[in-house]
């Protein structure tokens, strides 16, 4: 299973960058299936077409790389990975050399070492900036290599002045081209992996630079703020727009009541910033740390994730009812999830005609913000203008989302600041706290308890699974465990780029109290087959959208979950760097493990959510008040700019 987009003929990746496919003869040991090569004196038998780099890695031999990234097509442009292949006149880039014959490779001869050192020196001759004034200090691939290869002076000079102004126009991503080494990972991320197309190489020769369309500031071009480029930049040329100063200022201000909500994905990944192996969730250690940092309350975004499920699920049932029973042709189906702000902006730009399909339910981050400044403020008799809401998110697009003008339904900015995992880790390290050593503590009331359903929002398929658990039970009156063991809906899990699932509703039950004002009965759903889709990474989303446009099978779906980032939120643009398929897999494991230990694992059983409906949103899901606070609308942006 892979979350790379499929590189078929419809793929945007140029032919040259697609994998080199070698016809293999099924049986590995047959002639033509495998080949033995020798690297630094060690023999290894590998399938034909394996690159020298992959072969070396499986032997535990380190070959340095810069432009290579596991998630991306091979570029072979930085040349740092060159090795000597016996019989070849020139050195060969290990990352882009598929083995087709028995060869002998040497990875650190004099020629190789000299070349690598020169390449580093050449990069440094254009790389402006001081390592200690850089957010990637100690986590920079260029810096690491400079150390590895003993760079102790600038052989070919070093820029004394910046050549480019830093572009801070985007609410999400800051570009500092002075640090760019032209590995083009961001280009491949943006064009091939995400198919958004913001960044490309411009010009030729020594003038090449990475540019946006017409070299406009990032804030003015069609960027979806997913931040995937940040996660794949080897240096500090790309980073998120960091509001930690403002957050500290709020904490330091005694008049402000500062609350933070933490999403499950950052909690599953923040350990990486403290040197832990990927896949260690630090949810409850983080609660303690945040309090010690000075946050007044620590809430669990899962609460509002559960709320989102109720609102979004209800919206779906209502759409189906209107379309199927009332035969209202104006109802847009399939309904699309709208909790990934990167995805929402992608759709607004590239498929504006499908804006009506987006669920009007806000994302959990925004629902929480709106409730904190209304319900919570009333409950605790705090003037909402004194409340500062901070959201810990795995996501750079959340920074854009909380700044959307639509997101002020509480009368204030619903969410004041979005912090990424990396930024919060930085804040914590400033306090001297070593997060893994913190004692564990619980979330604060009144939103305290959450369910497992909220947790799995972090992984691709999670929203779908959570929605299914609730919708199925609300409609059938049966327990989901009857059809999926332990309520684990395996078919929607995993990193396959696009998933399609059907579920037939054999049984129907009575309409639960919560929904009674909305539908008279479920008879119209008896025997219905619900068709569902899941896509993550906007390249895969694009495939699904094109299929819908062409009237393919996804156009018959009722509900589709879209996530802008590969892997879902756990692979978000605000997560710790680096990222790779195995790191994302480890994070997913942590998330599903957390889900499975929850006592309550279904959103509609969350007592705190039910309490909110009893006390505050009295008209129930999709009622008047929840419409005002928890729902929103989107913009048809289109893809032309002037």
């Amino acid at each position: 299973m892979t979350d790379k987009p499929i590189l078929d003929d419809t793929s945007r990746a140029p032919v040259s960058q697609r994998g080199y496919v070698i016809e293999k003869s099924g049986m590995d040991d047959a002639i033509g299936g495998k080949v033995t090569i020798n690297i630094d004196g060690k023999d290894i038998k590998i399938p034909l077409g394996t690159t020298i780099l992959e072969a070396a890695r499986s032997l535990g031999i380190r070959i340095p790389t810069l432009c290579y990234h596991e998630d991306l097509c091979v570029a072979g442009v930085c040349r740092i990975c060159v090795v000597e292949v016996e019989g070849q006149r020139t050195l060969q880039a290990a990352c882009g050399y598929p083995v087709t014959a028995p060869i002998t490779v040497k990875t650190h001869t004099r020629r190789v070492r000299q070349a690598r050192r020169h390449i580093l020196d050449l990069m440094l001759s254009k790389h402006y900036g001081e390592c200690y004034a850089c957010f990637r200090n100690n986590n920079c691939e260029l810096q690491t290599l400079a150390k590895e290869y003993g760079v102790d002076f600038f052989r070919f000079g070093h820029p004394e002045k910046p050549l480019y102004a830093v572009d801070r126009s985007s609410p999400s991503v800051i570009r500092d081209m002075n640090k760019c080494i032209l590995c083009r990972r961001c280009v491949r991320t943006c064009i091939d992996l995400q198919e958004v197309g913001v960044l490309e190489g411009h010009g030729r020769g020594a003038d090449v630079e990475i540019q946006t369309f017409m070299n406009k500031p990032l804030g003015e071009v069609i960027c979806i703020n997913c931040g995937q480029c940040i996660n794949r930049c080897p240096t500090g040329a790309l980073r998120a727009n960091d509001p930690t100063d403002e957050v500290w200022a709020a904490i330091d201000n005694p008049d402000k009541h500062v609350v933070i909500q933490t999403a499950p994905s950052p909690r599953a990944a923040i350990g990486e910033n403290f040197g832990l192996e990927p896949g260690t969730a630090l949810t409850f250690e983080l609660n303690t740390a945040l309090r010690r940092c000075g946050f007044d309350r620590v809430f669990d975004t899962n609460f509002s994730a559960d709320l989102t499920i109720i609102e979004e699920g209800t919206e779906l049932l209502l759409r189906l009812y209107k379309a199927l029973v009332e035969k209202d042709a104006s109802i847009a189906l399939p309904q699309f999830t709208s909790c990934s702000p990167g995805w929402v902006k992608f759709l607004e730009h590239f498929y504006p005609e499908y804006v009506p399909n987006l669920s009007s339910a806000k994302s959990p981050q925004q629902m929480f913000g709106a409730l904190i400044k209304t319900y919570y403020a009333e409950l605790n008799k705090i003037d909402p203008k004194d409340i500062v809401t901070v959201a810990l998110m795995p996501c750079s697009a959340k920074k854009f989302e909380c700044n959307r003008p639509e997101m002020c339904d509480s009368g204030y900015k619903d969410v004041d600041y979005g912090l990424t995992t990396r930024e919060l880790a930085q804040m914590i390290s400033e306090t001297g706290i070593f997060l893994p050593d913190m004692p564990r503590s619980d979330f604060d009331d009144p939103f305290g308890t959450a369910t497992g359903s909220g947790v799995i929002f972090g992984a691709t398929g999670g929203v779908m699974e959570a929605a299914l658990r609730s919708v199925y039970e609300l409609v059938s009156g049966e327990r989901i465990e009857n059809i999926f063991e332990h309520a684990d809906i395996i078919p929607v899990r995993g990193f396959q780029g696009v998933k399609y699932v059907e579920l037939t509703l054999d049984k129907i039950g009575p309409v639960p109290d919560l929904l009674k004002p909305l539908v008279p009965n479920w008879d119209w759903l008896k025997g219905a087959t619900v068709k569902l889709g899941v896509a993550h990474g906007t390249a895969n989303a694009k495939r699904v959208m094109d299929d819908i446009k062409a009237g393919g099978k996804f156009s018959e779906c009722h509900f589709i979950e879209f996530m802008a980032c590969p892997g879902g939120c756990l692979g978000g643009g605000g997560q710790p760097i680096p990222t790779s398929p195995s790191i994302r897999e480890a994070r997913a494991k942590a998330i599903y493990a957390e889900d499975s230990v929850y006592e309550i694992r279904k959103s509609h059983e969350n007592p705190a959510v039910l309490k909110v409906y009893n006390e505050f949103l009295r008209e129930g899901p999709c009622g008047h008040k929840s419409h005002k606070l928890l729902h929103t609308s989107y913009i048809e942006r289109g893809k032309y700019i002037s």
Binding site: V15, S16, Y20, G76, I80, V82, L122, R155, F156
Partner: protein, 396 residues
């Protein structure tokens, strides 16, 4: 040894159609065998055996294959392909048809550099004529099993697009940035399909090899460099132009023919070739000694070699595609070094450092451009160290 800048070229003594007819009579395997037997090596510079290339492409199974004629002739000092296209385009097209038939391709593309777009009208006319004469189109020479047509693609001003994989990228509507090799175009070329890319001159020789046979061709030239070769001669000579000689003649012989006897040095192989000083003029022009794609630039006794190499480096700085580090940044550093030399301010240590950098560029660059751009620099340091170091007269 007859200078041909005015007269006939050997391959043009074969009348139109004759070579094509002979080829179709031989059949696919026969053609590949004949080309292999002739020992013909690519005339674009790299000198890859054409027979081997065709054989590889023929052996690859695919739904579609392509033949591309590389008429991007951008190497400074090379202009033979222009002359061929101007006068013998039909032979080049015949060569493409034969290549297409041999490997199983039905489409040919002539990649004509933008600088030569004025040739397009006549080339289109020739193609049209060949179509009406039944040499191109559905049934080539009345053969049911042979169909082939040729399209002209105009380049847009990029030397690097002469590199075959960059050329293919350009055909595909991309920036002309060379690809990783392997895979080679014979496996994964245009649109991911097997593609044979051959130089104009390589293809122009095909009809005569078909008509006269491999033995005729391989009897000319040297052991490892078979046949006759066209040379583009320019610079400080009395009679610049295109010449035809068998491989293996000495540089001195060539200088006598073209009126460059008192030359101080010649650059063989264009900007990416090597500078051969006068004391080495007895060396032979052949793949086994001094290889070339055909460019011979002659420098008279008073030429300043430093300025010559600066001119080349400016060329490479402007023409590097800029994707790989050694070439993108390295050429600039070498040019900066040359500027220091011009000012007489380059320390020996700096110069050695730059020579080492040149070696790295030759070794680690992604394509032939960066692998050969330091050649000229390294050559003058080797042969003209005395002339270029410690200058006092500042040259603008």
């Amino acid at each position: 040894m007859s200078p041909s800048h005015t007269g006939e070229l050997t391959f043009s003594t074969v009348k139109p159609r004759v070579g094509l007819q002979a080829a179709l009579d031989k059949g696919r395997a026969g053609i590949v065998a004949e080309v292999s037997g002739s020992g013909l090596k690519g005339r674009g510079g790299a000198g890859f055996p054409t027979g081997v290339k065709w054989n590889l492409a023929a052996a690859t199974v695919a739904d579609e294959k392509f033949v591309v004629c590389n008429a991007d002739e951008g190497e400074p000092g090379t202009f033979k392909d222009r002359v061929i296209l101007n006068r013998f385009a039909d032979l080049v097209f015949e060569g493409m048809i034969i290549a297409g038939y041999a490997i199983g391709a039905q489409k040919g593309i002539l990649y004509l550099r933008g600088e030569y777009s004025y040739l397009r009208k006549d080339l289109e006319k020739t193609l049209e004529r060949m179509r009406t004469e039944g040499m191109l189109g559905e049934r080539v020479l009345g053969r049911d099993d042979v169909s082939f047509d040729i399209e002209i693609f105009i380049g847009s001003g990029a030397y690097v697009c002469g590199e075959e994989t960059a050329l293919i990228e350009s055909l595909e509507g991309q920036r002309g940035e060379p690809r990783n090799r392997p895979p080679f175009p014979v496996n994964t070329g245009y649109k991911g399909r097997p593609t044979v890319v051959n130089n104009v001159e390589t293809l122009a020789w095909i009809p005569s090899i078909m008509a006269r046979g491999a033995d005729w061709f391989s009897s000319l030239g040297t052991d490892k460099s078979k046949g006759l070769k066209l040379f583009s001669v320019s610079g400080d000579v009395e009679r610049p132009g295109v010449y035809e000689f068998p491989w293996g003649l000495t540089i001195a012989d060539l200088m006598r023919e073209v009126g460059g006897e008192n030359a101080k040095a010649v650059q063989v192989g264009g900007a990416s070739g090597y500078i051969v000083p006068a004391r080495d003029f007895e060396r032979h022009i052949a793949f086994e000694d001094v290889p070339t794609g055909g460019a011979v630039i002659v420098f008279g006794p008073h030429r300043d070699m430093l300025q010559v190499v600066s001119n080349f480096m400016e060329f490479f700085v402007g023409e590097s595609c800029g994707q790989c580090t050694p070439c993108r940044e390295g050429n600039v550093k070498l040019l900066e070094g040359l500027r220091l030399l011009e000012e007489g301010r380059c320390s020996t240590r700096q110069m050695r450092e730059l020579c080492a950098l040149g070696e790295t560029m030759q070794q680690a660059s992604k394509c032939g451009l960066g692998q050969s751009s330091p050649n000229a620099f390294l050559s003058i340091v080797k042969h003209y160290g005395d002339e270029i170091m410690g200058r006092t007269d500042v040259i603008v």
